[in-house]
């Protein structure tokens, strides 16, 4: 048994590491935190993770997510509730090492904002936010490609991964940014597609 499940969840060819990392969550095969079990550690939670649930922090997370996936002709990540989704994932799904990376990453992001603009992230304009995060994104990509598998992920890699997952599996992301049909009722293997048509959510 299990074959078809395995089969249908095979992501096909993912030519980029990043794509694999994103899909990994959806596949339930995420490696983040997997080593915790492998080494037999008992779970401890970084106390600062609880602070992520402060409404001001969730608002900040929403704004970071909204810079990664901003409103365009479809709603952005903040409207889709990604700011409230991220703390749940960090608390429940991350191992302690990645919890630390994540909360330290929040500090690093604010530090970068102050260093470059002399203001907190949320005081920046949308363009400034993008200008701040783009090089960090580049740095994170480079780090992910060269790091040892046992090394923790880059904090911005985590931000982005959770933003993508949270957005495209949210009600807004699935139904407005993508096309979602819960009960298709039939299968058509030769369905027309025009450039600009959105992908299926599932």
């Amino acid at each position: 048994m299990g074959t078809e499940l395995r089969l249908m969840r095979t992501p096909g060819m993912m030519t980029r590491r990043e794509a694999l990392a994103c899909v990994g969550w959806i596949l339930g095969s995420a490696v983040v935190g997997g080593h915790l079990f492998m080494t037999g550690c008992t779970r401890r939670r970084t106390p600062r993770v609880d602070d992520l649930f402060e409404s001001s922090t969730m608002d900040l997370l929403g704004d970071v997510a909204d810079t990664i996936l901003p409103p365009t002709y479809t709603p952005g990540a903040k409207e889709a509730g990604v700011g409230a989704f991220i703390p749940v994932m960090v608390r429940d799904c991350y191992d302690e090492k990645h919890q630390v990376v994540f909360v330290d990453g929040m500090d690093a992001l604010q530090r970068a904002s102050r260093d470059r603009y002399g203001r907190e992230f949320q005081q920046l304009t949308a363009d400034e936010r993008t200008a701040l995060l783009a090089p960090i994104d580049k740095e994170a990509k480079a780090y992910q490609l060269t790091k040892e598998t046992t090394d923790a992920d880059h904090y911005f890699h985590l931000f982005k991964q959770l933003t993508l997952l949270g957005y495209f599996t949210s009600e807004i992301g699935a139904t407005k940014a993508l096309r979602y049909v819960q009960i298709p009722g039939r299968y058509d293997g030769d369905y027309p597609y025009q450039k600009g048509d959105r992908a299926w959510a599932l």
Binding site: R16, E18, T67, A134, G189
Partner: protein, 560 residues
């Protein structure tokens, strides 16, 4: 002794095999009790995840650290996820020992793994039934294709298998509901493969236990492709959707959940089983049930566990151990290797609906005049799909343009995974570990098995042949892969109480009777003499129906 403890037949287990045994026995008029070690799962009402949207799962289907801690085995591979966690065994209650690593994915509840199974449904043929005797591994199957073919017909007609009659030598056709369609890319790939290999290799649509049309009072598949959550339409075969309601309709079935069978009661004077002993999983109370025949369908290795725990005062190794083969010749299918690649073009084509099956490439190695440096063979399962995140997109940075690009489908790609046969090695075995106990104080199974040189040699072809086929079909950027295999991952446990022609070398005879107790039948994966390379569940359905027919005939003749 209370009369309500007496039945005509006892069925141990309620999965695919147990459900079939219960249906057949009750429809033939036998008062039957089906004993299930886990909780009840009611059709539809106990599928809470089936109607949920993705955003209704707090972790969107992912795994939490708590889940990883609670399910150390399940977390080793894909099955651990938030959506159908209730369908998997509570591991701390039911441990087992790994002499060598063994990944055991269990479903302890009414319906068993029939709720989560892969549903791919293929027949074994004489290529498989003759394999052991021809290449001298294991013992000869006591049956041939002609013995089981009518029972495959019977099982398929009831279960509802969608598929195409492809007319292939290597893979017998069955009684199918209309096939699900290939998509536009898959059709072209199939044509190119046919041309390139002169009709010697075949891309066919997967034969799957999902209804393509309404069938036996059940609704056809709605193409949600989330079968592992339970189906509110009853559109895939499970105990709940198919065999259990049929058995219940006879008024001859009693279903008793939370009933862990601890042993079969054996009368050494008559050389027959008289019934079974159970422990109630909730109250820890012990009960006995009595019947004329016992069908052991507890899932392959647990069926053998029941035998090993039974009649130990007569045979130290348990009921059926006189041959020395009980617990031996454990098998699975090895997989997790193959190839994938990118398809150029078809940018104006997509699909609608989520088809719950893929393509199948039946075995072609060591068939006819093909001879490889290993024996047996493998098949492939795969599909062509349009991905979500394409290569170009991943090169873009964060922001609106990237987001909008992410909302469009990417390139088409195709991927296949090979499923290979594992030989029945005597030394691959399970045995009772009396030093480790489960929640109910019962000894647990120890697993001691591994793949060997034949399988390792086969795996090279499983990758290379797939690369070559995809290249031949014009697929770009073809990339072979082998993600490694650990025993059990196939979730196709087979063997440990094999059928055979002699009580000296097998546990069961040609009708799945235990040689040492002819009114005990084992009809699940435990009975397999060899494994073939196709998904095995359909074979259990056919063997179970056949064995019940035989048992009832023998009862009528007074032979049991």
């Amino acid at each position: 002794m209370a009369t309500n403890n007496r039945y005509d037949a006892i069925v141990i287990g309620s999965g695919i095999s147990g459900g079939w045994a219960a249906k057949e026995l009750t429809q033939k008029g036998l008062k039957t009790i089906m004993l299930e070690r886990g909780r009840d799962v009611k059709h539809v009402e106990d599928y809470p995840a089936a109607t949920k949207h993705p955003w209704e799962f707090p972790h969107r289907g992912g795994r939490t650290q708590q889940m990883i801690a609670d399910y150390p085995v399940l977390s080793r591979d894909y099955p651990l996820n938030e959506k159908n966690l209730d369908f998997w065994v509570t591991e701390k209650d039911s441990p087992y020992r790994e002499v060598k690593r063994f990944d055991w994915y269990r479903g302890y509840h009414v319906g068993g793994r029939s709720l989560m199974w892969g549903r791919q449904s293929y027949r074994l043929g004489d290529l498989d039934f003759e394999a052991n005797v021809k290449d001298e591994h294991g013992v000869d199957w006591p049956i041939r294709y002609k013995d089981i073919a009518p029972w495959y017909n019977y099982a398929e007609k009831w279960a509802g298998i969608s598929g195409n009659r492809d007319g292939l030598d290597v893979l017998p056709d069955g009684e199918y509901l209309p096939p699900m369609p290939m998509n536009v890319v898959e059709k072209d790939l199939a044509d190119r493969i046919k041309k390139h290999y002169g009709g010697k290799r075949h891309f066919i649509i997967g034969r799957v236990a999902n209804l393509s049309v309404p069938h036996e009072g059940r609704i056809n598949c709605q193409f949600q492709n989330q079968c592992w959550l339970g189906c509110n339409f009853g559109a895939y075969f499970s105990t709940q959707s198919s065999t259990l309601p049929a058995a219940m309709a006879t008024n001859n079935l009693t279903l008793r959940p939370f009933s862990i069978v601890t042993r079969i009661l054996y009368d050494k004077d008559t050389k027959r089983a008289t019934g079974v002993e159970i422990v109630d999983a909730e109250t820890h109370q012990t009960y006995e049930y009595f019947a004329k025949v016992v069908f052991v369908c507890a899932s392959a290795f647990n069926s053998t566990w029941v035998l090993m725990n039974s009649a130990t005062d007569v045979w130290e190794g348990g009921l059926g151990s006189s041959s020395g083969e009980l617990g031996h010749n454990a098998m699975d299918h090895h997989f997790r290797c193959g190839a994938r690649g990118r398809i150029e073009g078809y940018k104006d084509r997509y699909y609608y609906g989520r088809r719950p099956t893929g393509l199948y490439i039946p075995r072609f190695r060591n068939v006819g005049d093909d001879h490889r440096p290993y024996v047996r063979g493998f098949g492939y399962q795969g599909a062509a799909t349009r991905g979500r995140w394409s290569g170009e997109v991943a090169e873009m940075s964060i922001g609106g343009a990237w987001k909008d690009a992410l909302c469009e489908p990417g390139d088409w790609s195709v991927g296949f995974t090979a499923f290979g046969e594992i030989l029945p090695y005597h030394e691959n075995r399970i045995f009772l570990d009396h030093d480790m106990r489960d929640k109910w104080g019962l000894p647990v199974l120890a697993m001691d098995m591994e793949i060997k040189a034949n399988e390792r040699a086969m795996r090279k072809d499983m990758v290379q042949d797939c690369e070559a086929m995809l290249d031949a079909a014009g697929v770009k950027d073809v990339e072979g892969y082998d993600r490694g295999y650990e025993f059990g991952m196939g979730i196709h446990e087979m063997g440990t109480a094999r059928m055979g022609r002699s009580p000296k070398s097998s546990v069961l005879n040609a009708y799945n009777q235990v040689w040492d107790a002819l009114n005990v039948f084992v009809t699940d994966g435990a009975c397999m003499t060899s494994g073939g390379c196709v998904n095995p569940s359909l074979t259990y359905m056919a063997l179970t129906a056949r064995a019940v027919d035989f048992a009832v005939g023998e009862l009528k003749k007074g032979n049991l």
